[in-house]
Symmetry: D3
Subunit: 329 residues, 6 copies
C-alpha cells in the first residue's frame, strides 16, 4: 500500500478523498454488473463505524483471497452514493497480526473498544472483591470472576444495546460497583451481598454472547438467555463450595433471576429485597447512560439535536459532548 | 358428636340448620366481645368451600386444643351474617386420621380434589411415557416423573389459579398430553419431545409449592419461581445421564424456560421452535378451561349468568353446567 | 420457449442461470432508462415465492400483450441485484389454462397451496359433520358449509397471516376440528356445538376475502370484517330454519362474535362459556403453529436460526425442518 | 303513613331525622340477629340515590308482602352506620301506581331521570330527521327510530356508565345530534349520513338493556352486545327497503360497527371515513361529559374536590356546580 | 424559462412530460457519478407535495447559486425512478418575491396552506372574543391573541401531524371554537372560560415551532414543549393583569396543562372540570378529523381504499372525497 | 392521665393492655348506637401508625372539645375488632405544645419523621452547594433552596408514596446528591448542573403539598402538579438573575420538566441529555428504595415474607430488616 497516505478510520473518511485503513471484512458477495462483468460487494467495519465497498477490477481473483470475519488492508476512493459514503476499493489484502503489527495494524483499530483502560478497571474490581470478607461469597467470586478474568477483560456487556465494546462487560461492572458501594452504605444494606450481586448479575453473558471478533448469540444464548444461564452458573459454583449457607445462596440466586426488574423485560422474578432492587436500578441506570452517550456520539449530522432514530425516540441535545469531567472543580 | 346429624360439607350448609362436618382449621383468633368475654374467631374449609365460625362459649379452654392447619370435627348452627353464611359453633374437636377414619373422616373430605381418578390418570402418563423410545429422554422422565410419582399424585398445578386441587398437577399434565399427542401428529412434530416437554414443563412446581394440606409458596418458590427451578431440576437430571445429546438438552431446557409464552407472563424466553410453541398453547388452553369451569361451578347465586368477579372479568353463562359428555353421541 | 430447459420455480432459481417458468404477473410498469429507452419493470410470483424482473427489449410492444393478475410464461437469466435475485427476461408470453395445460401449466404451479390434499380434508369435514345429530345444527351446516363446498376448497384462511394458501381455509378448519373433537370429550363439553362452532367461526372470511388468484379484502370486508359478516351469515341461515331453538342460536352466534378472544384483537365479545373459550384457543393455537412453520420454511439464509423479522420477533430455531412425523413410532 | 312528614328523597335524608318516601325495593333478605330474632335487610333506591335499611319488628310477616323490583312506601329513622346513612324502618308498604298516584307517588320519584324534558328532546330528533331527504335513509329512520319512539323515550344510554337514566338514550342522541349537525357543516361532510349514523349508532341498546325499572343486560345483550345487535337491526331494516343503495348500506353499517372507535373498546372495526370518525368522537365526548357531571354531582362530601374514586381516577374540582348557562351572556 | 409551458404543481406532474414550476429547495447535495462527474441531488417541494430532482449538467456552477430553504424556479423532465416520479432538471434559478411576483410566483404556491380564508377565520375569532365580557379574561386574550395576530395568521397547528399548514393554527382554533360555543351552551358550562381556553390551549406552539418557511422545533420547543411553554406564557400574561382572580387563573392554567388529556400524551395533568374536559375532546376530535382528511387526500393511487400507511393504521375509504357540504340541503 | 402508665406509641400497643399516648386526631364522628346512645368514632395517628378508637361515655360533651388535625392525649384499652386493634378510649384531652411539652409531648411523637438527622442532612446540602461555582447556578440555589431552608427542613417528599415524613424532602435530596456527585464524575458530566438539578427537581412540591401536620394537596397542586409548578418557580427565579445564560436556563428547566422520565408518569418531556437522564434515574431509584424499606418495615405479621399488598405487588423478603450498615466492614 502507498505509504504516503496515513492510516485512517471510517469515521474520518471524507468524500472524494483517497484513504488507507485496516478494516474487518463483515460480508463479501461476488456479483455481476448489467453487462456481465463480475464485481465484489463488501461490508467493512472498524471501531469507529461501518461502510459499504465495491471492487470493480479483478473481483473474481480477489474474492477467494479474503475471508469474512478477518481483517483486511484497504486503499480506496471515498464516494458518495445516495447520500452515504461508499468505498471504491483500489486494493484489498488479507492481514494477520504477526506480519502487519509492524505496519500499524492492531485489533484495537478494528473492534469497538471501551474507552476505559481495562487494567485500571480490573484493579477496581479486585479492590471491590477485597471488601467481601464472607468466605463463601469470596470463594464464589473467585470461581466465577477471578477464574474468568481473561474472558471478562475482552467481553462486551451486550450484543448491541449498551457497552457493546471489547471491555464493555468490565466497564459496566465497574461503573455499577462504584455507585453500588456508596449506595449500599447510604441505604444500610449488606454491602458484601451488593458487591457480589453486581459482579455476578450478568455472568451468564460470558456464555450467551460469543465475544469478539464475531460477538453473536450462541445457540445456548438463543435457547436460554443470560438470566437463566447465569443463575445456573452460580448454582453450580455454589454446589462446589462446601457449607455455603442456604439463605445466602437463595439471595444471590434471586439477584440473578430478578436483575432485569420487570417481567416484560424477560425477568422471571421482580426484586424482593433491597439489595436486589438496588442492583436492578444500577444496572438499568448504567445501561441507559451508556446508550444515551453512544446515541449522541454516533450522530454525525450537524446541528444541536440528534434525529429521533435512537433508543429514546426523541431528539437528544448534543452540545454537552465536550464535558469531560473538567466541570468537577 | 350427635350421630343423628349426617356429615355435611360447606357447600351444602343451609342457613338456620344444625350441621356436622369435618373441616380444616385455617385460622383461629382469640378475641374479646365488647363486654370483655373471650370468644374464638375461626376460618374453616373443606373441599367444597370456606366458612367463618364463632365459638362463643369456653373459648379460652378450647383455643389451645385445636391447631391451625389440622382437621377438626365441628357441630354448629348455620347463621346469616350480612348475607354470608357463618357458623355458630357448638362443639369443635381435634381430629386425626387413625381415630376418626372409622367415624367417617378422610382427607378427601377436607382438601380440594381433582375430579379425576388419579390412578387412571397415572396409567395414562405411563402409557404416554412408553411412546418415548429415545433412551435419553426416557431416562430423564424416569428420574423426574417416575421417581416423583407419589408427590405428583397429590400435588396441585398452582396456588389458586387453575387445577388448585390435590391431583391437579397430574390432571393438568394428562389433559395436555391427551391433546398434545394428537397435535404432534397433526403438525408433524417430534412427538417424543412433545411428550417429554409436557411432562416436565411444570416440574418446578413440585418444589415451588409446599403441597397440601398447606399449599403455600416455599422460600425457594418465592425467590426463584417454578420456571427457573424446573429448568434447574432438568439441568441436573441431564447431567446425570451420560451422553445426553447437547442439542436435545438445549431443546428440552428451552421448553422449560419458554413455556409461559410471553415475557410479561414471567417467561424469560418465548418459544423458538414448534414443539415449544405447541406446549405453551396447550398449557394456556388447559389452564383457562379449568379456570372457566371453576368460575362457573363456584358461583352459587341463581340466574343464568355469573357476576363479573372472576378471572375473565365478564359474566359467564352457566347453563351448560350439566354437559357431561353425553352430547358425544 | 426452449424446451430443453426444464420448468422451474422461483425458490429454485439460481443466480446466473437461465430459467423457464410459469408465473403470475402481479405488477407491470413501463419506464424509461436514463437515455430515454423504454423498459418494463414487472413483479412475478408462483407458489414458491416472488421475484422482480426487467424486460429491456421491445418493452413497448410487449406491455399491452400481458395482463396483471394473469399467468405468463417466462424465459430469463437470473441476476443478482444488491443481494437479491432478479430476472433479466428474454421472453414473456401470456398463458391460458386450455392451451398451456399440455405444456406443463397448471394453476397449482402459481398459487400458494396448502400442503394437504383437499379431498382428504373435505372427507374429514364430512365425517365430523356426521357427528352432529341435532337437526337444527345439522341443517345450519348444510346451508353454510356444504352449500359453499366449492368455494371452501380453494379459499385461504387469511390475507397473509396464517394459512394464506389455496385450501388454507379448509386446512385450518380441519386441524381445529381434529383437536377440538378430542378436547370436547376431555372437557365434557357439548361436542356438537364445538364441531359446529369450529366449522362456522371463520365463515365470514368467504366474503371478506376475494379468494385466489387475487385474494384481496372486498369492500364489505374492509367496512365490516369477517367477525361481523360471519355472524350475519349465521343469523340469516338460522332465520331460514324453522324452529331453531333460541338458546342454541345465541350460543352459536356468541361463538362467532367471541372467537377472536380479546377485545384488542377485534373481538366485540370475550368467550362466555367453555365451548366458546375452547374454539378461541384452538383458533389461536392453529394459526400460530402455521405462522411459525411458515416463518421457518421461508427463511432461506444459512445458519440454524432465522432473523427476528417474523411475527414472533425472535430468532427461530430451524433445525427441526425435517421432522415429518417419522418421530411418531 | 304520617301525613305530617313531607315526602323526601334519599339524597335529602339527614341523620337522626324521621323521613317518609316512596322508594324502589332492590333487594330483601330475611336474617337472624345473634339472639335468633328475624329481621329484614333491604336495599332501597330512588332517583336521587341508594340506601340500606333494616326492619327489626314483624320482619317475618312483612317479608312476603313486599316484592323485589317494585315500589314501596317507607317511614323510617335515618341512622349512621360506620359513616354511612342507614334506615331504621318503622313502616313499609307495597305501592302501586293506581292507588298511590293520588298520594304523591309517581315513577319519576323512583327511577333515575334525565334532567331534560323528553318531549322537547323528541321534537329535536324529529326536526333533525326532517333534514334527511334521502328516501332510503329516511325510511330506515322511520323503521328504527320513529317506530321505536315509545321505547326510546324511556331508555337509558347505558347500564351505569353514562346517561344511565330514563330518557338518557334520547338525551345522548340529542346532544350528539346538536353538535354533529354543526360539525358536519364545518367539516363538509355528508350531513344526512351523520344524522342517520348518530340516530342509529346505539340502536342495539334497545335490546341489549332491559330498560327500567330493572335495567339489566338481556341474555342477547350478554351474548352479543349492542354493537353487533345494532348492526343486525340495521341490516334487517335495510333488507326491507327496496332498492337501498349498496354503497350507502355499507357506510351505515360501518358506522354501527366502528362507533366505539378502538378495538380495545369492543369495536370490531375502527372508523374508516370522516363521518364515522366524527360520530365516534361525538359519542366519546358526550359520554365523558355526562360521566364527569355525574361524578361531581354525586359527591356529597364537603370540600372543593371529589375523591379519586370516579371514572377519571383523579380529584375533580367541584366549584363549577353552579354554572347553569348564565355565563352565556 | 420557456413561457409556453404553463406553471404546474408537483401533484400535477405527469411522467415523461416537461414541466415548469416554482418550488422550495429543501436539500441540495453535490455528488459524483461513478465516472467522476459532479451532479446535484436536490429535494424540492410545493404546497401540493415533495419530489426528488437531479441536475446532471453544470452542477458545480449551479450549486452555490441556489440556497436551501429558499424558492427556486425549475424547468425539468418528469421521469420515473423505481415507481416514483423524479425530475431531470434542465434549468434551475433562484427566485425572490419582488422580482418574480410579476412572473407568477407567490409564497402561496410553495407553502402548504390551510384551505380556509384567513381573514374570514380571524373575523370569527374576533366575534368569539367579543362574547368574553369578563374583563380579566378579555385582557388576557388581548395580550396573547390580539397582540400575536400576525404570527397566528401564518402559523401551523403542528409540525406534521395535523393542520400542518400556513394558517393551520388559526383554522384549528376556529373549528374548535365553532363547536365549543355550541357545546358550552348544551352542557351549561362557563362559555367565557371555554372560549378563552380554546383560544389559549395551544398558544405555546407559537414559540415551540419556528413557523414557515422552515417550520422546525425551536430549541425551547425541544427542551420544554408547547404545553409547558404555553402555561408559562399565560402565567406571565396574568401576572401583568392587576386583580386577576386566583381561582380563575388556576382554571385557565389547568386547561393549558391538561388539554392533551392523557398522561401518555405528554399531558402533566388530566382534565379536572367539565370545561377542561370539553376542550380536550374538541382538540382531539378536530386534530383527528384533519388527519383523516389529509390522509385520504394525499393518497394518489387508484382504488377506493388508501393503504394502511397512515396515522390510523387501517385502509381508509376514499369515495367521499367529493362531499363538499352540498349534502346539507 | 395516670402517670404510672408510660407513654406508648401505636405500633407498640398490645391487645388487652391499657395504654397512654399523645396522638393526632385525624377524624371524629358523633354517632348513635342502635339503642340511641351517642358515641364518638375517631381516627388517631402518631409517627408509628394509625388506629381507630371509640368513646362510649360522655361522647356528646367530649366531641366539641377536641379538634380534627390537632393533638390529643389519650388513655385507652386496646381491643381486638375483626383482627385489627382498636382503642376503647377512657379519657381524651386536647393538647398544646406549650402546656404539654413538660408532660412528654412533642410533635416528633406524632408526625411521621425521617430517620435522619435534619441538621446533618442540611450540612450535606450546603457542602454540595459549595461545589457549584457557576455564579448563576449558585444564585439560583440561594433563591430557591437557601431561602426556603426552614420549609425544606420539615417538608415531605410526597403525599404517601415515598419519603412521606417530616424531613423526607430533605432526605430524598441528600440521598440523590450523595450518589449523583459520584455518578457525575464517573460519567464525566457537568457536576454543577447535576447538583443544581437534583436540588431543584422537586422544588414544586413545596407548594404542591401543604406540609405537616396536614400534608394534603393544595388547590394549586391539584390543578397544576409539582412538575409544572417547579418549572415555573425556576423560571421566575432565573428571571430575577441578571445575565443568566439562555442555554443554561433551558437545561435547568428541561431537567425540571423531564425528571419523571416517562410520559405516562406525568412527565411532559423525556430526558434529552445525560445530566437529565441521570437525575431521572436517581430520583426513581431513591424513591423505590424508600418504598421497599417502608413496605417491609410496616408489615407487622410474622413470617419471612410480606403479603403482596404493597407497591411492588409481590411478597417481599423481610429477613434483612436488621442490616444496619454493619456489613460495611
Amino acid at each position: 500500500m502507498k505509504k504516503n497516505i496515513p492510516l485512517s478510520t471510517i469515521r474520518n473518511f471524507k468524500t472524494n478523498e483517497e484513504v488507507r485503513a485496516y478494516l474487518l471484512l463483515k460480508e463479501k458477495h461476488l456479483r455481476l454488473t448489467r453487462d456481465g462483468k463480475p464485481y465484489l460487494d463488501v461490508i467493512l467495519s472498524d471501531r469507529s463505524g461501518t461502510i459499504i465497498g465495491k471492487i470493480w477490477e479483478h473481483a473474481g481473483e480477489i474474492e477467494p483471497m479474503i475471508e469474512t470475519g478477518a481483517p483486511v488492508g484497504v486503499r480506496a476512493i471515498v464516494e458518495d452514493f445516495r447520500g452515504n459514503k461508499q468505498l471504491n476499493i483500489k486494493r484489498i489484502v488479507p492481514v494477520n497480526e504477526e506480519d502487519f503489527a509492524s505496519k500499524g495494524f492492531s485489533w484495537e483499530l478494528i473492534l469497538p473498544q471501551s474507552e476505559s483502560n481495562s487494567d485500571k478497571l480490573w484493579k477496581f474490581i479486585e479492590k471491590s472483591m477485597a471488601k467481601v470478607n464472607d468466605p463463601y461469597l469470596s470463594e464464589l467470586l473467585r470461581l466465577l470472576i477471578v477464574d474468568n478474568r481473561s474472558k471478562i477483560l475482552k467481553h462486551p456487556a451486550s450484543l448491541r444495546l449498551h457497552h457493546a465494546t471489547m471491555g464493555g462487560f468490565l466497564e459496566h461492572m465497574t461503573y455499577m460497583l462504584n455507585l453500588g458501594i456508596h449506595a449500599a452504605k447510604q441505604y444500610k444494606l449488606d454491602q458484601e451481598l451488593v458487591i457480589t450481586g453486581i459482579l455476578l448479575h450478568d455472568i451468564g453473558k460470558l456464555d450467551e454472547l460469543s465475544g469478539y471478533p464475531n460477538n453473536l448469540y450462541t445457540d445456548e444464548g438463543n435457547f436460554l438467555g443470560h438470566v437463566v444461564m447465569g443463575y445456573n452458573m452460580v448454582d453450580k459454583a455454589i454446589a462446589k463450595i462446601k457449607g455455603f449457607p442456604d439463605d445466602l445462596a437463595l439471595k444471590i440466586k434471586h439477584i440473578l433471576v430478578s436483575h432485569q426488574g420487570e417481567y416484560e423485560n424477560q425477568s422471571p422474578k421482580k426484586p424482593a429485597f433491597p439489595e436486589a432492587l438496588l442492583i436492578h436500578y444500577l444496572d438499568e441506570m448504567d445501561a441507559r447512560m451508556d446508550m444515551m452517550k453512544t446515541a449522541i456520539s454516533q450522530e454525525l449530522d450537524d446541528g444541536d439535536w440528534t434525529s429521533i432514530k435512537n433508543y429514546f425516540r426523541i431528539p437528544l441535545y448534543k452540545s454537552q459532548k465536550d464535558n469531560d469531567g473538567t466541570a468537577d472543580k
